[in-house]
């Protein structure tokens, strides 16, 4: 069983739409939850992280964690063409040599 599973997409939405990106994870011991954004032909970069159940907002982005369901989500409000990228969820356990486990990524295209 994979440590983390991610909806593969791809997603194509009109500018201004609300986007929902989702992942599930298998081990309830995972402590930290992150979202990375990867533009085409670039390395991933950290977008947001959280460690508790509930919501965390940063501008147009909201990260949501439900530890009871082992479910994590990223919501993008008022999506812009510049949000077009691949979004990867990531989880980690500090005790395992600081290893990060990444989802397979969801490709998002925001159409002007």
């Amino acid at each position: 069983q994979k440590e983390v599973e991610q909806d593969p997409g791809p997603l194509s939405v009109p500018e201004g739409a609300i986007v929902s990106l989702n992942c599930t994870y298998s081990n309830s011991a995972f402590q930290y939850f992150m979202w990375y954004r990867q533009y085409s032909r670039k390395g991933p970069e950290l977008l947001m992280y959280t460690y508790s159940s509930g919501n965390k907002e940063d501008g147009r982005f909201t990260a949501q964690v439900d530890k009871s369901s082992k479910y994590i989500s990223l919501f993008i409000r008022d999506s812009q063409p510049s949000d077009s990228a691949t979004y990867l969820c990531a989880i980690r356990l500090i005790d395992t040599g600081n290893q990060f486990y990444f989802g397979t990524g969801t490709s998002l295209t925001v159409i002007p």
């Binding site: 991610q6 390395g43 991933p44 950290l46 040599g97 600081n98 990060f100 397979t104």
Partner: protein, 113 residues
């Protein structure tokens, strides 16, 4: 700061050839990682290092070797290239267990034919 740099950007290898992918970071990070990214497969950890002189296997280490003689450098060696090693390789670094952020290099696109 240049961050994490990787060379080369692109490379084509013939089956059985060897090469070293270079990775350097100038942020004085203790932790460094090598991932490969295949289409639709996400990032898979090849090797990681928690400090100079210490390395450990990740999820897909077969066919690769690493060394970490300095804090800054973490080269990845392919000894006998195989078509299955065609991928995009990313090096990353992080400060340590307190950091949730990995800083990624721009990647090396490798094709083995």
């Amino acid at each position: 700061n240049a961050g994490v740099t990787q060379t080369p950007k692109f490379r084509i290898l013939k089956i059985g050839q060897s090469m070293t992918l270079q990775c350097t970071q100038d942020m004085n990070h203790n932790y460094m990682y090598w991932y490969r990214q295949d289409p639709g497969m996400g990032l898979k950890l090849i090797y990681y290092s928690v400090g100079a002189g210490i390395t450990d296997k990740g999820e897909v280490p077969n066919g690769y070797n690493v060394s970490r003689s300095t804090t800054e450098d973490f080269p990845l060696r392919l000894e006998l290239a195989a078509p299955s090693q065609t991928s995009v390789y990313f090096c990353a670094s992080s400060y340590g267990t307190a950091s949730h952020e990995q800083y990624f290099g721009p990647g090396t696109r490798l094709t083995v034919t």
